[in-house]
């Protein structure tokens, strides 16, 4: 009986060890995503715990050698949609036409972007960028986080958000344009843009 017992324990230890090696290293990425999506520390704490518990329960179904991080993010997304999304206050709607007009004005007033890059990049802080990301509509915020912060490919993002790659690309393009204009407006308001246009 003892060999059987130890074999059982070994199997369970192995499962736990595999999970620890494959899934635990992605905890901070998932926590960041949870925080950005819920906008609330308590909800993010609950969401990450629920995600890890669920993923552990289904870990035997995870296909070894495939992308564990993407698998964990999908579990988090489903958990978020089922239990947390209703509590999240959706940011105000973005008037994209207004964004386009403002962007074109910036573009027409700058012949060279090197000064602009310096003014924005050197002066803007994490909080200001973070606030701009949080103000994006959920669809745009999701693709921005997955692509620019987490480094997922278009194909992985398309699988994640269940839409074609072309839609991912278009959302990314729009999201970055919205962010650029928001950050420019903010920098201008604060007097960060001092270089010659």
């Amino acid at each position: 009986m003892l060999p059987f017992l130890f074999a059982m324990l070994d199997n369970q230890k192995q499962l736990y060890a595999d999970f620890e090696a494959e899934a635990i290293p992605h905890m901070d990425s998932l926590y960041n995503f949870a925080l950005r999506m819920t906008g609330d520390t308590d909800d993010a704490n609950d969401l990450i715990q629920e995600t890890y518990l669920k993923s552990f329960r289904f870990f035997e179904k995870f296909e070894k050698g495939t992308n564990c991080k993407a698998w964990l993010f999908r579990i988090m997304k489903n958990t978020y949609i089922n239990s947390y999304r209703k509590n999240v206050k959706e940011p105000d709607k973005v008037d994209y036409e207004e964004i386009e007009n403002f962007y074109e004005n910036i573009k027409s007033s700058w012949s060279n972007t090197s000064h602009l890059e310096k003014d924005l990049y050197d002066n803007l802080l994490d909080d200001e960028i973070s606030e701009a990301v949080n103000s994006l509509p959920e669809d745009f915020r999701t693709v921005i986080i997955l692509c620019d912060i987490e480094g997922f490919s278009y194909e992985e993002i398309a699988n994640f958000v269940d839409c074609p790659i072309g839609t991912v690309r278009s959302r990314l393009h729009r999201a970055r344009k919205i962010l650029f204009t928001k950050l420019y407006k903010y920098a201008e308001g604060k007097g960060y843009i001092t270089s010659n246009k």
């Binding site: 329960r57 924005l120 960028i129 970055r176 344009k177 650029f180």
Partner: protein, 274 residues
């Protein structure tokens, strides 16, 4: 149309997702001759750079990390056994959903009609020296491999002798359970005293853990305790049953010993057979 296509390409180009070589070459040519396109690329590139480099990454708080790891280690066996049970039920074709429903209803009625005394409410059992809390902790440690059996034998006298040699000062009761075999025993120290522990297992990987203490240890400045109301209840020959964290705990008195059983078995009759 061409302009819209180029704008879409900006994003893909920036993210290294423009895979078609011909499209890539065309886009590069467009970029060289169109300053407006170059501005769009630089603006988008700057935004991406700020997001990638300047946005703070929030690490998972340490207490949450610890909580997750602890929950996972407890979950590791409970979920496995539960899944095995469910798959066994559904592998039998003759058991339909309605049959499962009837079984659940029957179990519910059995639970409702159990003798009242097993579910009497007592003061909350808390604290590191509480026998019920200790038994649960020993069981959880065992599940994660921190508390392994030290000895086993088919001969009960040899087992009793092991307890004696290891410094256990009281006689040990070694119960038998249908479908379960003794998988090993161990002696663990608590406040300098040695106590007996037994582990049983069945062929499905369910465990029964027994922590056994002589009642003298509960007297005076006790190093192990249970609330007085619960002790009186056990002295009358009753069993105390509690369910927590996917497993069951049962306390009962046998001769001069108090026995705490903790198990992850789905067997509803286990407390009755204890």
């Amino acid at each position: 149309m061409e302009n819209k296509r180029n704008k879409d390409f900006i994003t893909a180009y920036l993210d290294n997702e423009l895979k078609n070589q011909a499209e890539l070459n065309n886009f590069k040519k467009e970029l060289e001759k169109d300053p407006s396109l170059e501005f769009d690329l630089n603006a988008e590139s700057l935004t991406k750079k700020m997001l990638t480099n300047k946005l703070r990454i929030n690490n998972t708080p340490d207490n949450i990390k610890r909580k997750i790891l602890k929950n996972l280690s407890i979950e590791s066996i409970a979920s496995k056994n539960k899944n095995a049970l469910v798959s066994r039920i559904y592998s039998k074709r003759f058991i339909t959903f309605s049959t499962v429903g009837i079984i659940l209803l029957a179990l519910l009625l059995l639970l409702i009609n159990r003798p009242d005394q097993t579910y009497t409410n007592f003061s909350e059992q808390t604290g590191n020296n509480n026998m019920l809390v200790m038994a649960r902790t020993y069981f959880e440690d065992f599940l994660v491999g921190k508390n392994n059996p030290q000895f086993n034998s088919n001969n009960l006298d040899e087992i009793k002798n092991f307890f004696k040699l290891q410094g256990v000062k009281y006689d040990i009761f070694i119960p038998e359970y249908n479908n379960y075999s003794l998988a090993g025993v161990s002696v663990l120290e608590h406040h300098g005293e040695k106590f007996a522990h037994q582990i049983y297992t069945d062929k499905n990987g369910n465990f029964i853990y027994i922590f056994q203490v002589h009642e003298n240890y509960f007297k005076g400045d006790s190093i192990i305790r249970l609330t007085e109301d619960l002790m009186n209840y056990l002295r009358k020959g009753n069993k105390y049953i509690s369910r927590q964290k996917n497993y069951i705990a049962v306390l009962k008195k046998k001769n001069e010993n108090v026995l705490a059983l903790v198990s992850n078995s789905p067997d509803a009759d286990l407390p009755d057979n204890f």
